[in-house]
Symmetry: C2
Subunit: 339 residues, 2 copies
Amino acid sequence: MRLKDLAEHLGLSQTTVSRALNGYPEVNEATRLRVAEAANTLGYRPNASAQRLATGRAGAIGLVLRGADELGPHMSEFLSGVGSYMANQEIDMLVSTVANHQEELAAYRRLAASQKVDAVILHSPTIRDERAELLMDLKIPFVLHGRTDIGRPVAWLDIDNTSALERATSHLLDLGHRRIALLNGDKGRTFAEHREMGYRAALSARGIAVDRALIGNSVFTDEVAFRIAQSMLQLRPHPTAFLAGSMMTALGVFRAIRQAGMQLGKDVSMIAHDDVFPYLNADNMYPSMSTTRSSIRQAGTRIAELIMQILAGKPQADVHELWPVELVLRESSGPPPSI
Amino acid sequence: MRLKDLAEHLGLSQTTVSRALNGYPEVNEATRLRVAEAANTLGYRPNASAQRLATGRAGAIGLVLRGADELGPHMSEFLSGVGSYMANQEIDMLVSTVANHQEELAAYRRLAASQKVDAVILHSPTIRDERAELLMDLKIPFVLHGRTDIGRPVAWLDIDNTSALERATSHLLDLGHRRIALLNGDKGRTFAEHREMGYRAALSARGIAVDRALIGNSVFTDEVAFRIAQSMLQLRPHPTAFLAGSMMTALGVFRAIRQAGMQLGKDVSMIAHDDVFPYLNADNMYPSMSTTRSSIRQAGTRIAELIMQILAGKPQADVHELWPVELVLRESSGPPPSI
């Protein structure tokens, strides 16, 4: 059954039927329901692929999550940003969850084969990311959130993690801290490597040796951060300052400091990286939290915009944006206690 | 071009080509890339709708978010649960973001028309939810997370909010509290109405009148909760206990208590509703947080499972699950200070 047949059956124009099926507001509710019911009863399918063939577009952007845990606070904020832009374009997000790296590669192949998406957002890259190579080979347009080096130009948007950590570390050094702990993301992830580079550069500029015991690599959760900070605070001498990789990490470090009977901002300082979660405001913490700050939601929105530009013809190789990170000083960072 | 033609062009069997395009692991990487490239160059499209017509399935579940802000900590935990189940079924999630209620209704109509999804997850219902009525009319299978009363049987899964709040309130009354504040969700939302019912029932059982000044209705963010709790603590007499609607709310209340120079668990008590966020553990808070506890991620997983059962033929009217909520007592709730 074609649109024409359905329209004739209903005694309506094809335009009205098409508008009704696509939810245009100028068609009243009763007509919309009548059209939807008739389409359903008669088995009319103005299907996705017909629309895709007509427009050349699937109308969706793909995102693959490795493990459901990846949909945590950082990813959901990022996707909020993507969603707020895509909503205006009437583009959906197709989210696939997979169990591991091999399955993730298979998922991209499926997306390429099924043509359910027009482009992909690639996230959480490693230094040399195999997924980026595959997407290039599969010729699926994509924008990378973060950076990777695969020897071919990919479209990317990243924040300047190296400079952010260099500034934060230098500031703590200026205040007089010498034992500064870094609670960083997992090794191998580009952002974590960049952050460690910034931290090392600042220490090196003052001739301070890196103490591996003061570097922790883990996922960014309150609980893991608590345990790492707790054990670091038992070192003698213990660190007098922490660089926390996320606000979740900061909550755990804060708890460890309190449990050790110390006061944040007096006995121990902290600067946390703030992705700007609306429900966890650094300014409103008590004491308020010094941060390196960059909105992950804005990054999502901008990446969505860049994807639309690429679909409109902008060369992927021309898309690379490095965003500076603010250093916002509040109560949690002060000079170390005099010994 | 058909699969047969592509296979002949490549000198491979149709089975191998099909497996290569679908990412099966038994096809080696080189073959996969060769097939993908040839398919791309020759314009072969084993498209989504061909697959759908073959299987009768779109292979995706729809979810509509009203405003990108809806993808906050609660929704992302819930979707993690959905995703972890769907991953095993090789089913994707199609997430549409819309700006308002009218657009949300239009989005469901579009989903029905395009047949991009096999079913929908409906969330955050109101007492009488127009969206549930529309989905019934459109004959899109759906499971509701929460409850609504539209006079027709819908499939739903909910937690027992009324009983949870009745028990938490009764416990605080047993401890001797008489001024108990309720920081609840937005009016009109079913869960918020149910929670208020439980709170009122417990007070009423002791002959205690409800004081409207002790009930706050808002979104669950740290910042809003801080402001509401701060102003409630300025009342004379101020509440000696808080029921916080979420862990985010609890963070804000905790901050207001500390800023007022009071001690949680001694001067003021709190019981928070805990959706079990992996990055914000009630047991690990300091002091540890008493909670009414139910994993929103498990609810997501179960709803995904129920959807698959419905798609396999289970009548929607048979699907209704009311989950009990645990009351977990920790350090944040104690007797009120003697006056």
